[in-house]
């Protein structure tokens, strides 16, 4: 897997968005990596073309919604000669379990990748339980 040439994964379009989006254009599902360590759950989402201020993270009733708005960078005078992908907003929803301390969620957008850190609630961290002898 290390030296392999990357294969293109076509951008997955969202088929149905809950309610209709207000902006015209396709909406894509960003590829994510979700990993978990002792203290937190980390979500990394590929959202190229999205600025930090255009990311919207919403948390309601354990439902985490990530939205990224994209403005197509093409200037008005540009005509398209060859197009392999479309520009569009990003949208993805996750259901969180109760182990997340929702007040301490932090997010950072860098180079088109969103890094969302969801710290676990204290009691959800693995506790070592001492066994008393006697």
């Amino acid at each position: 897997m290390k030296d392999q040439e990357m294969e293109l994964k076509e951008k997955k379009e969202v088929k149905k968005v809950a309610g209709e989006g207000t902006r015209p254009g396709p909406v894509f599902i960003p590829a994510v990596d979700i990993l978990e360590n002792t203290n937190e759950i980390i979500v990394l989402a590929d959202m190229p073309g999205v600025e930090s201020k255009s990311v919207d993270i919403d948390l309601k009733d354990n439902q985490l919604t990530i939205t990224g708005k994209v403005d197509a960078p093409e200037g008005e005078k540009e005509t398209s000669l060859y197009k392999e992908f479309n520009w569009g907003d990003y949208f993805r929803q996750f259901t969180l379990s109760n182990v997340i301390d929702q007040g301490k969620i932090s997010a950072k957008m860098e180079n088109g990748v969103l890094r969302l850190v969801l710290p676990k609630v204290e009691k959800a961290k693995p506790q070592k339980i001492k066994v008393a002898t006697g």
Partner: protein, 148 residues
Amino acid sequence: MAIVRWGSNPDEISDFDRLRQEVNRLFNVFSPCTEPFASRVYPALNLTDDGNNFYFRAELPGVKPESLDISVVEGQLLLRGERKIEPEEQKAGYHRRERESGFFRRTIALPARVDPGKVSAGMKNGVLTVTLPRAEEAKPRKISVKTT
């Protein structure tokens, strides 16, 4: 029709298999293209033109600009680079793994002569934009029609 010998060499493709392969190939040629025109090579590129410059754009989230190798040679743009996924600490377990990493390389023929000395590239929010100004002689010239 060839006589089929029973118990012949099992490594040989039987005539029926060969026929099936030929027919499949024939159908692939004539069947409509179900997928949009996609290159199957990472990254996907868009090429636009505004009369003075060509613009190449590619979505490369998480790719560091230092790892990119862009060059213009003989009417072709060559893009090479590597996408690395930062390894998180050892104790992390993955629930989902959708993002890929690896090397990529694309070569695109340019539609017209460009001025190689003035080519510039920038990376913003994970989107690479390469600006290639047309060479002077390749700029479209308006030709006016004289009436006599």
